[in-house]
Symmetry: C2
Subunit: 328 residues, 2 copies
DNA sequence: CTGAAAGCGCTTACAG
DNA sequence: CTGAAAGCGCTTACAG
């Protein structure tokens, strides 16, 4: 910048202001400066800005595992949202790996490596007190899961209760009366909400908890079968569990949807390919990431204004895996 | 740091050195300083370090789409690799969206937002000259694809040619003589290498190009069928294309592997679930990301030492989708 | 509309 | 083993 100022015969102050536009600069002078900047290929060093302003235009995204498609989509949304506001997005994967990694991400905030954090965990934080303390110093917004134990942190979540209700209503309309819920992990707010929504329609549905993996859908159905459970429909915590359930049912010669209907949650990209086409509740995970990024950046730039949580709409996507209950 | 120095009754110089260990500090003094640091919960602000040293301990990962599982796994590896060396990883998604986003990532290097870049594109860069210019100022390492048009940039890629050969040998051993290659996009080095490897075993295999999506595997098989092509095996550019091919064959009542054998590439997590279990060439995408991160960080910290490219081994994973050619 | 100067929080020769 | 001081590249009151 020194160099530019010298070449243009002005002070660095003026160069800085032509760049930022924070105070009027003579049009001719500004033009000359801009031309020199372009010629020399100058770009301002963020390190200088950061030291002076205290902000580095970087936010973090903490997720359990970035390689899972669910969090990968969230990351994409967050990266896009951040990029649109000229921020960078640092990935903090394996946030649930233990207290040590958890601490590491807090330290990113404390060292000012990042100006704010999007936190998407699928279990409770180890040290709630530290979490609150860090959150009071720099903005944290929760994505995907609200954490009831942490008070009043803004969050961006899907309308999980409505999602559960939509699935229940669809099955009820198809004549189903005995449904099983292959829910996500117990203790998650999203799990609780989806179960509650579903049960407003089908109150006595049995609830089994899995871990969102295909294998858990598979083995929970094995358990069900081994215990002679009697059901005509299954509502799953996500699409992977639904796929596992369908795979296990097929092995047993139980047809989907002729004998048993299956509904998933998420609408992942391969949902249409899971024979016979997975009926599921779509949530917009990319949008969730984008909104969370926007929220946290707004909080960074306007520390005074309160930021309000957002609930994203969900939608039932009807494909082939849920059908009318058979006459038998 | 000023504060710590005052509380400990020493100079900031000494505090800095107890933290960095770059010069000996009296044991007692060091202990006292460390205790005060712990009590006050002090962590050094990276902005200060960055301005002084010119490095911010952040690298970038540029990929076409972070929400694709392939790049998500690479991101996970890169994030882990970076984290192990105390670096942050900034995501630059949609690198192929056009010259504008491409430029944006270069600018991240030029503004020193990032100290180095892992570049994983699935097509040629728009502006090769600028690429080279940027790369000469700050380290760039290519992951997944080497770009022949960019001279002498270090890269981390899989042994694609061996992968192709392994697939070909497996099919040949099973008695196949007429195979189709549903390759990735033309012009990619990985595509060329896999095709070449496969054809060292089965020289006359027809090559069709797709785009790595399930739909392209599906529609290429449609084309094949419509043209009455005669084949007993298909080798695909990745597992998604293989899945699409299997789906299309099933629609036609063509059994896999009884009538046609199918081999994929990657070994994605759902490969075992793609009935009848996908035989595929496994490449370690996570490892690729990790190695690329290590390479670029080494280059950042030792600008003088040359960094050599790496080729990662691949491995044939035999499942159910490839079998002996039928007697008919 | 413009400039001189302070200062953000570190690191690191230089001097002792 | 330790300290005073310069300086990294910006931004922003303050003064004109």
């Amino acid at each position: 910048m020194q160099q530019i100022a010298q070449a243009a015969g002005v002070s660095v102050t003026t160069v800085s202001h032509t760049l930022s536009g924070k105070r009027p600069v003579n049009a001719e002078t500004a033009d000359r400066i801009r031309r020199i900047i372009a010629d020399l290929g100058y770009v301002p060093d963020v390190a200088g800005q950061r030291l002076k302003t205290g902000r580095g235009r970087i936010i973090g995204l903490a997720v359990p595992d970035i390689s899972h498609s669910y969090f990968a989509r969230m990351a994409r949304g967050a990266a896009e949202g951040a990029e649109a506001l000229d921020y960078g997005l640092i990935i903090c994967s394996s946030v649930n790996a233990g207290p040590r990694t958890e601490k590491r991400y807090f330290n990113m905030l404390r060292t000012r490596l990042i100006d704010g954090l999007i936190y998407s965990a699928n279990r409770e934080v180890t040290d709630g007190d530290e979490f609150s303390r860090v959150a009071s110093a720099r903005p944290i917004v929760l994505a995907d899961e609200s954490l009831p134990s942490i008070d009043h942190l803004p969050s961006v979540v899907s309308d999980n209760e409505t999602g559960g209700r939509l699935a229940g209503e669809h099955l009820a309309a198809l004549g189903h009366r005995r449904a099983i819920i292959l829910a996500g992990p117990a203790g998650l707010q999203s799990t609780t909400d989806r179960v509650r929504g579903f049960r407003t329609v089908m109150p006595n549905s049995l609830v089994l908890h899995g871990d969102f993996e295909t294998t858990s859908g598979y083995s929970l159905v094995s358990d069900l079968l081994a215990n002679g459970a009697d059901f005509t429909a299954i509502f799953c915590g996500n699409d992977y569990m639904a796929w596992g359930a369908i795979l296990r049912l097929a092995e047993e010669g139980i047809r989907v949807p002729a004998d048993v209907s299956v509904i998933g949650f998420d609408d992942i990209d391969i949902a249409p390919l899971i024979a016979p086409g997975l009926t599921t509740v779509r949530q917009d995970t990319t949008q969730m990431g984008r909104r969370a990024a926007e929220l946290v950046i707004r909080a960074i730039e306007h520390r005074d204004e309160p930021i309000e949580s957002q609930v994203l709409p969900v939608e039932l996507v009807v494909r082939g895996s849920a059908g009318a209950v058979s006459a038998s």
